[in-house]
Symmetry: C3
Subunit: 318 residues, 3 copies
């Protein structure tokens, strides 16, 4: 198996679908432990002293790249941020030649974001060293650290998973976040997962056998304990035959009024960046039920946990 | 008050106009102390160990961004340089959502440069953590670390402020440097501040009641002890009805000949980057009266002082 | 002499042509020593603690910039990566004003890549501090750390230099790599150096009196112990009157078949990034005779050695 080696060690984080439940929970526990050890991120650690982490981002990203950058710095690693536009890829060097070159320079981890699904796995399959690949989002396929941080946020702020009903709403078909969330929430043992999308943006029914599918958001949110709203890529609206952002918001946006159909304690999540007034109302995004900034905070600890697991002394050497 | 909290601690550095004179002098003293403690910048300190400084530059800048970057690194902080062009702002995330996201990641300071006046203050008013905002230049309004470093340079190299006459020449109307310099020089107790600009680029007379306004540079420089030349934004020349760079230089440029109208020991300052042959002659910029590179050197220590004051253990905790 | 001061210390690395043989060998020895001391690059050193290295790249580069970045970080230096496109050079600041500004901020080393030959030397001649300039590739002229790393690779993997025949093939006329390699290989005492190029891309015969010139690759490679293939700049093909990449490969590309004309143990080098199927066949580039990734690995140690030599305590102070 690509992600776990013969001795049972985690080698890469490509997706969550192949990770046993216990391993996902252990990563969340490690994130909590790193939160404590780093005093909420204010005390630098030297877990990864001497290691080198490369951020290989082929798509722009504020939060994910910075989150990985800080996670690696706070663990004492050297960080190289690869600006793809200014790199030799402009000279036509192939992706794998770039990776092999960085491996030869003793880079220990590649944090990869790419618009093509499967790129991180492709890189992992062609490595020549024992470097680790961390998927930071590939196409529609997976965004595993987002899944983990959402699960961590849910575990910390939404009570016993076994009693929870979670509704994920938006462009499920094209969402790597939804895919990783479903795996992570299932690992937590969430009672019910509902997926809601406009019909044109719904997933193939066979893809999520463990979830209930909706196209009516009012029905999907009824009684939910957690709502995860997805970012609407504006170019998808046309595909969904939705004439305007206002129309999308009316049908699939999370307003305070609609939120009242959920459980009274229902919390709200969103991977960000948010489109205010498109998939979520500003008063909900900024309201007291919103966990959006908790997700961001948890993201750094989850990424520290994954880096430490993949590169740390305990996980690699000895 | 936004910049100083109830207990009297400095929370942000937005401008110099609200800072009491003693506090400005204390920052200059701290810059001198950090120069000594860091052995002129060659000995790294750990004053900000575990802290995270974000450079949020929405305008390009060589010297200011690098100066803050080095100041933070030399104090032991983690630094994140935000490349705005490649960040999620391209996905339309709002400025405040970006800031709140970075706060959630436990960033302790935002160094902000923006072409819109008031952006750093706007950010500071909407923070959700106890992070600090450092204005690195906003529109025409303020560039407080430039004011401080110019004051430090003047204090170190131009003798007793109470006896000095300082002439600032250029596009005063649109200059954030001039505004911050006037506040900083006034705090030092400079005897006389003269502002000289082409009529179309002169400030409103009411804005600088403590300064003498000139539009004839020969008159403004007569007997001066310090001359501060401002960079001419080329697009302003047309507004000033000045037909060419040569014409601007003839009327408002600092030549060696014109400098002879000042005091014999008169020193020359410029915030950089300089336009050689436009607002300043090369032989003056590179001459022995020029303090331009001293300003650059002092800039790093001033920024270390401001960061240490805003984020340091003494200023924040306990 | 620009590169070596009166006391015999190495001040800059501009090219290899002025460096005595013993000094080149000493740099290679120091690279080997740093490999050991850093445990193959995994143990961070503090040789350059408190020093600041600036990467001033006016041309895009994956491997060289990252290699210098990692070399400096692994020696404990502060690193500033100058993104030229986003810097004040867009405001028209001159190259020397940028350099003098960075010197005033106490930057200790400038790693310079520029498309104009002579830029690093020009900078070194106009410094105002005792900073060091490291040429990271200037025009057609020199790429001295590439020469050193190729020599180190050859010394480690190709046996006794005095018995070796080395063939360098490609656009010799415009190649800074070829120029630096010839100097470095000569310093090692390589028995024979052959240069092979299409007639239109051949060097002036007077430039390399110590080399044998070829335009027939089959002849040039016959009996060689080492083949160094150069990257073909696609825009040169027209100048060489070569109608296609396939045609170039047929005449000057390194195929497995052609490699059989060399010695049985012949090793293959290339500075990268490679054009697969243009100057080198994929099976050769990825084959067991290829030292391409060894070159990359050695590059980090060579750059550590040069930085340590130029900036280290032993070389500068006391």
């Amino acid at each position: 198996m690509l992600e776990i080696d013969a001795s049972g060690r985690l080698r890469h984080l490509i997706g969550l679908e192949h990770l046993p439940r216990e391993r996902i929970l252990a990563l969340l526990d490690r994130a909590d432990a790193l939160r404590a050890a780093s005093r909420d991120g204010t005390r630098p650690l030297d877990t990864l002293r001497g290691r080198t982490v490369v951020n290989l981002f082929f798509e722009p990203s504020t939060r994910t790249r910075t989150s990985f950058d800080l996670a690696a710095q706070r663990l004492g690693a050297h960080v190289v941020n690869f600006d793809i536009a200014s790199s030799s890829t402009v000279k036509g060097e192939s992706l794998l030649d770039t990776v092999h070159t960085l491996e030869a320079m003793r880079c220990d981890a590649f944090v990869v974001r790419h618009k093509e699904s499967g790129t991180p796995e492709y890189i992992a399959r062609h490595l020549r060293s024992n470097a680790a690949v961390l998927n930071a989002g590939d196409g529609n396929r997976a965004h595993p650290t987002q899944g983990l941080l959402d699960a961590l946020t849910l575990r910390r702020h939404a009570g016993d998973p076994a009693s929870l009903c979670v509704t994920i709403c938006g462009d499920i078909r094209h969402s790597r976040v939804a895919r990783s969330d479903v795996h992570a929430f299932a690992a937590l043992g969430v009672r019910e997962i509902r997926l809601c999308a406009p019909p044109e943006l719904a997933p193939a029914p066979s893809e999520f056998p463990q979830c209930r599918l909706f196209d009516d958001f009012d029905a999907a949110i009824a009684g939910a304990d957690v709502v995860v709203m997805l970012r609407l890529q504006k170019e998808r609206m046309q595909a969904a035959a939705i004439p305007s952002e206002a129309e999308y918001f009316a049908r699939y946006g999370l307003s305070a009024e609609r939120l009242r159909r959920a459980q009274p304690q229902c919390v709200v999540m969103h991977p960000g960046p948010i489109n205010r007034g498109v998939e979520i109302a500003s008063d909900v995004a900024d309201g007291e039920r919103s966990l959006i900034l908790e997700q961001v905070a948890n993201g750094v600890f989850v990424r520290m946990a994954v880096l430490a697991e993949l590169l740390g002394v305990d996980a690699r050497s000895a």
